[in-house]
Symmetry: D2
Subunit: 296 residues, 4 copies
C-alpha cells in the first residue's frame, strides 16, 4: 500500500521588520511581521532530504530585509505581492508562494516647539493583516484584514426566540451587552497586473464601515450583526468581493446582586473568559469570482 506526499509548504514565519523613513527631521515608522510559505517541486526533499529545490527559509528572511531596503514598504499588500512574485518568478522549483504580513500602528508623540518628529507611541488598536498568494499560472490573490478589533455595544442587543431543547436553561433577554473581538478578512478580486488598489485607503474605509455597522445595527443575534458588517462593506467598497468574519461572543453576565439587597439594572457585569460563543461567517457578492487559493 504505497504512501504518497500530500499538500505541503514551507517557509519563514514571523520575521520582524521595522523600517524607518526620514523626511528631514520628520520620521515615519513601519512595523510589520512577515511570513512566507513556498510550495512546488518538493517531492525529493521529503523523500530523500535532497535540498536542491529548496530556497532556505533563512534566505526568505534575508529577502524580506533586502526588499525593504530596495523597494521600501508602502502598503503591506503591495510589499507582499512583490515578495510572492519574486519567489515564484526567480525559482523554477517554487510554483506557489503565500506571503502574510501583520502591521502594528504607531502614533506620533506630540512635542512642544522644535525638535519633534521622531518619537512614537504604539497605538494598541487592532492589527492590520494581509495574505497574498502568487501562483506560477500568473494568478495573484489578495486578502486584506484586521484582528483584535474589540468592540462593545452596551445596549440595542437582544437574544430570544431560539430553540429550547432539554438542555436549554438560558433565559431570553431583551437587553444585553454585546461585545466581541472582530477578526475580519476581505478578498479583493484577482489582481490583473501591477498595483491597482489603494490598499491603505481601502483599509481605513473598510474598518470605518465595520465599526459603523457594528454600532448602528440593532442586534437580535451576533450572526445578524456579523452579516450586517459584511454587507455594509460590500455595499460601500467595490474593490472588495467577499468578507469573512470571526467574532467571539465575549459574554458579559449581569451579576445577581439580590443576595445583597441590591438591584442591578444592566449596570454591573462580570466579563467572562471561557467558554465563549464563536460566530464565523462569510458574506460575498453573488457574482464574486472564484476564490481559488486565496483563503488557504
Amino acid at each position: 500500500m504505497p504512501v504518497v506526499l500530500g499538500p505541503n509548504r514551507y517557509g519563514k514565519a514571523e520575521t520582524r521588520l521595522v523600517r524607518v523613513v526620514r523626511d528631514g527631521g520628520v520620521h515615519h515608522v513601519k512595523d510589520v511581521t512577515v511570513g512566507s510559505a513556498l510550495s512546488g517541486d518538493m517531492e525529493a526533499v521529503h523523500r530523500t532530504g535532497d535540498n536542491a529545490a529548496v530556497l532556505p527559509t533563512d534566505t526568505q528572511k534575508n529577502t524580506v530585509y533586502a526588499f525593504a531596503r530596495k523597494h521600501g514598504v508602502a502598503e503591506i499588500e503591495d510589499f507582499a505581492i512583490l515578495l510572492a512574485r519574486h519567489y515564484v518568478e526567480s525559482q523554477p522549483t517554487v510554483h506557489h508562494a503565500r506571503v502574510e504580513i501583520e502591521e502594528y500602528f504607531w502614533d506620533r508623540i506630540p512635542v512642544a516647539g522644535e525638535g519633534g518628529g521622531h518619537s512614537f507611541v504604539r497605538s494598541g488598536r487592532e492589527v492590520r493583516t494581509c495574505a497574498v498568494h502568487h501562483d506560477r499560472d500568473g494568478t495573484t490573490t489578495v486578502v486584506s484584514g484586521l484582528r483584535d478589533l474589540v468592540v462593545l455595544n452596551s445596549t440595542d442587543s437582544e437574544f430570544s426566540g431560539f430553540i429550547e431543547d432539554e438542555y436549554t436553561t438560558l433565559p431570553p433577554t431583551k437587553d444585553r451587552v454585546l461585545a466581541t473581538a472582530v477578526s475580519a478578512r476581505w478578498r479583493h478580486p484577482p489582481v490583473a497586473a501591477g498595483r491597482g488598489t489603494a490598499y491603505g485607503e481601502s483599509y481605513d474605509e473598510v474598518r470605518r464601515h465595520l465599526l459603523g455597522a457594528f454600532a448602528e445595527t440593532y442586534s437580535l443575534s451576533l450572526q445578524q450583526t456579523l452579516y450586517a458588517m459584511g454587507e455594509r462593506v460590500l455595499n460601500a467598497r467595490e474593490e472588495v468581493c467577499e468578507v469573512r468574519l470571526a467574532m467571539p461572543n465575549k459574554h458579559h453576565f449581569l451579576v445577581d446582586l439580590t443576595p445583597f439587597g441590591l438591584d442591578n439594572p444592566n449596570e454591573v457585569f462580570y466579563a467572562a473568559d471561557r467558554p465563549y460563543g464563536l460566530i464565523e461567517g462569510s458574506v460575498l457578492r453573488d457574482d464574486a469570482p472564484d476564490a481559488r487559493f486565496a483563503w488557504e
Copy 2:
C-alpha cells in the same frame, strides 16, 4: 449586485470540563476542553436575526456537562462523536456539527502507605486533540492529533545542497541541533457505525511512532524528518489513512565564542524565538478515501 451568505458556523468554544471517576478510593481524572460548531439553516438568523433555527451556544455548553454525567468521557474521540451526532440528529435545522476536544494529561502522585489514589500532578507533556464532524448525510469523520510535542536531536541532522540565490548567506552544515514542536493530526477512515476504533491505544502507538521516527531518522532536512514520521505511522497503524504535520524549526544557533578565545564544538547554543522556519506537510495512503470535510 446582490449579496449572499457564504460558509458559516457558530458554536461554543473552550468549555472546560473536568470529570472525576471514583473506583473506591482510587480516583481517575479526565481534563478536557470542548468546542462545538454547528451549521445548517442559518440564512434567517444572519439576515433578520430570527433565532428560530439556533440552538444557543449556552445550550451546547450545558450539553457537554450533561453528556459527561450521562455517558461518561472515555476516549475524547468517542465523546466528540456522541456530541456531534446528538446535535445533528436532535435538531432538524442543524445539518452539520464539528466537535473539537483537547485533553491534558495528569500523573498520579505516589503516596506512601495507605490513603493514596486521589492526588494528581499535571504531566505537562503534549496536548492530545481530536476533531470530529458529523453530517446529516450520515458521514462521521474523525481526526485525532496532538500538539506541543517538543523534541530535539542534538546531532544526526544536516542541511546543505540547497538553492543559493543572491540573498543566500546561510552556510551549509553537516551537524546541527534539530528541534521542533510537533503538531500532528491523523485521519481515520470514515466511521461506518459505532465505536470501532480503540482511540486510546491508537493514540499511544501513533505518538510512539512519531517519536521513534523523529529520533531514528538521520535528517538531511526537516521535510525529510516530517515525511518519515508520517510514513512510519501509516506503515504501522492501519487505522490511520493520512497524517498532517506542522513542525516549526526551532532554531538553535551555535554561539560564536572566538572573540573570547574559545572554540565552540557544537556545545553552546542560542535558542531563538523568531523568526522560525515552518514546515507543513501531509503524508497519506495512495488509496486513502476522500477526506471530505474532515480537515475543516
Copy 3:
C-alpha cells in the same frame, strides 16, 4: 527546631468588572480587573485549617460587584481605597488589605446622526493601574501607574563610553533606535482622610509628562531617559513623591545588508524578542515620606 509562619496574605485575584452608566442615551463604560489580598490573624488557618478568621475570597469577589453598584466606580484609586478600608474596618481579623486595580480604555465609536452613544472600541493603549494599601493603624497608601506604554525614538539615542571587558563585543553607536515598553508606578504621599487627589487628572498629566520626557530627552543611555522621565513627573506634579520605572530595552538591530550589495543607513531593523536589556529605577523627592508598605 520550631517552624514559624512568616509573611502571608490571601485574596481574590483578577475579578473582571465592567460597569455601564447611562446618561440618557449616552452610556459610559468602566472596564477594570480587581485583586484584593488580606492579612491579619491568620495563624490558626495555616496551622490547623480553622477558618474562623477568614473572609472567603468568594466574598471578596461579591464585595467588588456590590460596591460597584452601591458606590459606583469613579477613579480606580478611589474605588480601591473604599474596598481596602472596608475589609480592614469591617473585619477584626483583617489587619491589612491591599487592593490592586487595572483599567482598560475604550473609545466611543462615532455614529452618524441620531442614536449613537452606546458603542465603543477598545483603544488598546496602555493599561492604567493602581495599588492601594490600608492598615489598621489608619495608614492608607496609594500607588498609581501604567504598563505596556510602548514607545520608540527613531533617533537622538546613543550608547558609548561603556566598560569594555574581555567579553565585550558591542560597538559603540552614535545613532540607534530606542524602544521600550514603559511600566511606571508613582507614589502619592499618604492620604490623610477622604479623597483628596483628583486621580484621573493626575493620571493624564503624569502620562503626558512621561511621554514628553521620553520624546524630548536626547539619550546617551536608557538609564538617563528613565531618570529624566521620573524627574519630569516630580517637577511637574506635586501630588507625586516617587516614581518607579521598569523599562525593557526592546532592541532594534540594524540588519547587515552588505552581502546583498546594499547599504543600510539606519533604515531597516530587526526587532528582537529575547534577550532584552531591562532597566529598573526609582526617582524620588529628597524629602519623600517613608513608603512603608506602599510598594509591597
Copy 4:
C-alpha cells in the same frame, strides 16, 4: 525640592542558553534561561548618561555563553553563583549582582537497538528556578525554586467555618476538588564559601516533599495545605531555612445538572479561569538567619 535616585538595577533578561554535552554517543542537554541585574555606582549614568560605570547588557549576554563553555552548566545555582560573583569581583563599579535562572526538563526518547542517546522530548513538567545574589561585602544568597507545578486533589478537601458577612453567599463544603499551580521558592542559609550544597539532589527532594505534603494533607483550607508543604520541607531538608509559596486556588465548580434531571455526585466540574483565590505565605525556621536581599 531636590530629586534623588532611589534603588535601581539593570541587566540582561531572558538569555536563552542550550548546552549539549557529549559522552560518546550519549548526549546530555541543559536548557536554561538566564537573567542578570547589576547595581552599584550608577548615579552618573542616570543623571548625565555617562556610561563609564556600565558593563553593557550585551556583555552580560556574552558572559553567559562564554561561561557555559568555560565552566559548563552543572546545577543552575552553581552557575548563577559563578556569574554573580564574576560581575561583582571583576567590576569595581558593580556592587551587587542578582542572577536568575530557569531550567526546563527534557526526557530521553527511547530508541530500539543501537544508535540512541541524542534524542529528547521536552517533559513539560514544572520549571526549576533559582535566584542568586552576591554583594561586594562578600555575602552570597541562594534561593531555589519551581513554578507551574500543577496539582489536584479530587477529595479530602473541605472549606467551612469561615466568616459570613453581608456579602457572603458561598456555602460551606465538606468535599471539594482542590487544585493549584504551585510556585515555591526556598532559601538556603548564606553560602560561606564554595559550593557546599548538592542543589540537584536538594531540588528533587524538596519537590518530592512538596508533592507528598500536598497529597497527604487532609485539607480544611488551602492555607493549611500551603503551611504543611512548607513545614514538611523544613522538617526534611536541613539545607533549607525558609520556604515561600504562592498558590492560586484553581476553582473547580460542581456543575448544577438538576435542570436536566441529573444528579452530580462530585463528578462533573467546570474548571474556571478567573477570578481565582491566591494564597501566599512563608514558612521558616525560628532561627533562620536574616534573609537580607535574598528575596529581592
